[in-house]
Subunit: 229 residues, 2 copies
């Protein structure tokens, strides 16, 4: 990371984290020794806020308590859309019914989902991710959610816009074959998959997505990129 920053290349961290504000997320990474600031992070909640403002939408929120501060500046009175994130313990029967009632009560229901993940792993086991609850509301209200976050094309485009570069000038480094590599390529960027984290050997036979290159870890990705400057 330090070598990329020293090279003068522009850098952006794209995360689907929706269980915490960017502030908390960045503090955690700083604690692990990473040189990273809030301004360098592209995350679903601020991207959603931009959409809400642009379209005059007032959200009913079904999100994690720790994410609520990201929506501090947004008018939430008399909601005309529902925003769903990985609400974790807030995915109660009562909260799901409430979000559903708000949505079904609209003439044209608008559902914005902060990601479409199926599930993820925590120390105490696998958990259903926001995508599963998104599907429940989609089915109940017969609507299609607008997904903000990886792999949505719009999400990568806003990261590029924030840096002021074109897709052809950018390269994505990530471990997730569909959400990282597939999403970045769909918006015209080149994409490198690192063989760490979420990487699985079977990714290399993925039916639809083929990375522009593989590397064994982030350091090797940096080597390759700096060599080609």
């Amino acid at each position: 990371l330090n070598r990329i920053k020293a090279s003068g290349l522009k850098l952006r961290f794209c995360t689907n984290e929706t269980q915490a504000t960017r502030e908390k997320f960045v503090k955690k990474l700083q604690g692990l020794g990473f040189d990273i600031s809030v301004e360098e992070v592209t995350a679903p909640a601020p991207a959603a806020c931009r959409i809400l403002k642009e379209r005059g939408l007032r959200p009913h929120l079904l999100v994690h308590d720790d994410l609520v501060p990201e929506f501090a500046e947004i008018d939430k009175a008399n909601p005309n859309c529902v925003v769903i994130g990985d609400a974790a313990e807030n995915f109660t029967y009562a909260n799901l019914n409430e979000a559903f009632r708000v949505l079904i009560g609209m003439e044209k229901p608008v559902l914005i989902s902060l990601g479409r993940g199926r599930y993820y792993k925590e120390t105490d086991g696998l958990k259903l991710d926001v995508g599963a609850y998104m599907k429940a509301l989609e089915y109940a209200c017969d609507v299609q959610a607008e997904v903000v976050g990886k792999p949505a094309k719009m999400f990568f485009e806003s990261a590029l816009a924030e840096m002021g570069v074109t897709p052809e000038e950018a390269i994505m480094i990530g471990d997730d074959i569909v959400n990282d590599v597939g999403g970045a390529q769909q918006c015209g960027m080149r994409a490198v998959q690192v063989r760490t984290g979420k990487y699985r050997p079977c990714d290399e036979n993925h039916p639809f997505v083929k990375p522009d290159a593989y590397v064994n870890n982030l350091a090797e990705a940096v080597d390759v990129i700096l060599q080609q400057l």
Copy 2:
């Protein structure tokens, strides 16, 4: 109802009720003055039990507490499938994650859903029905649920088998254009829609389902059927 029974016609009540045992359901209807017994009721839970026994499946149950007795005779140790019903208050974050973990842990996940309803109305407002939670698990595990209950063809077929009649010999009377009329017709029965209960005038312009006849209420349906004997 009494006139049908007096005529000697065979009769079967097909319900998607999964919040109570047939015993409770029948008691409620008896309390309202209906001449009905448990043996005359075809419901999703007993239909699911038949499938579980036939295929040697041991279910993990995500159902309403009041429905559990219907599964009393079923072996539930070391589950190799998940059965989901309208669990209502039992649709907690913890219970959904648990059902998901059981399912994703199987080599070939088997999900049996007692109905596919989107939502229903109670005195305190609209509630998400089993279909929404079924979709959440389907998406998370990349499986397709097997639906037991209306409008599944198999469900109507088991009601016919219990009476010992062919589809051509039977007629269905119901208020739900898709679940009652559509389901019965798909299995080869004629179907009459009553203009009460769930009926909506727009049903008469339904794009796919057209009842064989309309009646204003159950009494009129009985008139029409008895006239044609």
